[in-house]
Symmetry: C2
Subunit: 204 residues, 2 copies
């Protein structure tokens, strides 16, 4: 049976580390930023721009001058969003069809629902997420106060949650959309990943 | 380090089976209906009556005749509820102090929070829960139509959720109160329990 594993994750919870380790344990592909690179390649949009849009809720600007037809020819932000989501949708389907894999975020759990992926949600309490961020963050994020960092983490998660809701109609944190929800607070992901891989081998 | 495992579970999701198997794998005690028996013994209330109250939200009857002091001497349903919750609270604390154990439901995750138990929530989709109920149910439950059974399951879970909210102030289904949330739909709990036991050995 195929092994497609999707991982949604709170920012700073170690979802990517868990995903990479799971993929290594199970000997399957791992996709994260590779998807962004491919979208940029296909859409002709800059990688940085794609990255700034993906997993953020589209902002819909209502044209003030509705009825002035020349506006129809100017690409609006929502067009780019939809274009990127469509490319992402196609790329994720192609990757999953090609081989077993772990895919991080990007509504892959919803896009691939017909393949019955093993759907994981990774989360952690705020102190653990802050600690992980500080250990891994670029220097400008390190300069944030605790309060600013907590706010920054919450903002990113709210964007992910809104994005997920917008494109799937589902709530990001609803247990019913997942097979397993894992709280990584105080956990060694390195030690935990092999045990989880065993569990997934059994469940599939 | 101590191994206290608490399991909250949707009705029909296999939480008890998982709990029993985990306790066997880890070689620790398992507490479920034993708690009811002890409450009954200590409170002098019938076991059946205790069972009908535990994990149901207390119903508060407001006396219509407030101010008539003789009412203060008549035990009200809320008194029994509080008495039972208090006994339960004490018994769960005593059991956890005595030895490592698995405790099913009864707000044990909240009551024992200072001991940092490993907190599991077990759930499943409705078809899986109905199948499990039909396989294990007494004959009168077997006579229910699918619609009636789904309603019955939802009613029990609503009661558990209300009870939990009433005594802990927390939402039953909030991921942040758990270390692991497991969807048992289509899963062999017998095969899964040893892998989970390994994971818990690592995390503690």
């Amino acid at each position: 049976m195929s092994k497609i594993i999707t991982i949604n994750r709170q920012f700073g919870s170690g979802g990517r580390e868990l995903g990479k380790r799971l993929a290594a344990e199970l000997g399957i592909a791992y996709y994260d930023n590779e998807i962004i690179t491919q979208i940029a390649g296909r859409s002709g949009l800059a990688e940085e721009y794609v990255n700034s849009i993906v997993e953020r809720k589209p902002i819909v600007y209502y044209p003030i001058t509705i009825g002035r037809t020349f506006l129809a020819h100017t690409p609006q932000p929502l067009d780019f969003n939809t274009q990127i989501y469509t490319e992402q949708h196609n790329i994720i389907k192609e990757l999953a069809a090609k081989s077993d894999c772990v895919i991080i975020g990007r509504c892959a759990d919803y896009i691939l629902r017909d393949l019955k992926p093993f759907r994981i949600f990774v989360y952690a309490d705020m102190p653990s997420r802050m600690e992980r961020c500080r250990a891994k963050a670029p220097s400008d994020e390190k300069a944030l106060t605790d309060k600013q960092l907590a706010r920054y983490i919450d903002d990113i998660d709210n964007e992910r949650s809104d994005y997920y809701k917008f494109f799937t109609g589902q709530k990001w944190l609803d247990a019913e959309h997942y097979d397993l929800m894992i709280n990584t607070s105080g956990m060694s992901i390195k030690e935990f990943a092999p045990a989880l891989a065993n569990m997934i081998r059994i469940k599939k």
